[in-house]
Symmetry: C2
Subunit: 114 residues, 2 copies
């Protein structure tokens, strides 16, 4: 019964998960688990994408038509569902990136106002 994972985590900033997933899939098709790992790796263990956030997000993205899915075995011989960007997904990525940048710029201006 133990406290495991006592390390202080940083959660995914709300509203950025789609962007992170889309960006990650920009390099080629991946399965869900791999997406989470890659985000964790690239963020140097700072961003932890919980499975309970990831899979529902992927479902929504399927419905929105941003990604397409296909079952096929992973490198390790396990069943895995590979997701890849659709054309709409690629466009959405662009939109999210520019809105994110714009918003961060604006926030920076507020925060810099000593």
């Amino acid at each position: 019964m133990g406290k495991r994972d006592e390390r202080p985590r940083t959660e995914i900033p709300p509203g950025t998960l789609y962007m992170l997933i889309l960006k990650t899939l920009g390099n080629g098709a991946m399965h869900g688990y791999g997406i989470a790992q890659r985000i964790r790796l690239l963020s140097r263990e700072v961003l932890e994408v919980e499975e309970g956030s990831l899979y529902p997000a992927l479902q929504r993205m399927l419905i929105k038509g941003w990604v397409a899915a296909e079952w096929r075995p992973s490198e390790n011989n396990r069943r895995a569902r590979y997701y890849q960007l659709t054309k709409a997904g690629r466009k959405q990525l662009g939109t999210e990136l520019s809105e994110f940048e714009k918003a961060m710029d604006a926030i920076a201006h507020v925060l810099e106002s000593a």
Copy 2:
């Protein structure tokens, strides 16, 4: 019956509103309306804090003890409720700022992975 405000707006990124309010109040007590105006001004009209977001947020911040409120007339002779940071609020601001920076750093690493 008119469309007004047809200008494309950028909404407040979820999770950043407390930080923006706390930061704004760091310069001294202000009333709600003034907070919204200041954020709008500093962000060069990019961030629009809706009243339906602002006042509920201020209520929550009162409950959390991050701000204290006091009624007194505004510069324009109107009744206004002035909010100011408490000690806890100042501490919270520090926490939010460092977590924000950490998260943005991490996101940047993911986005830079061409």
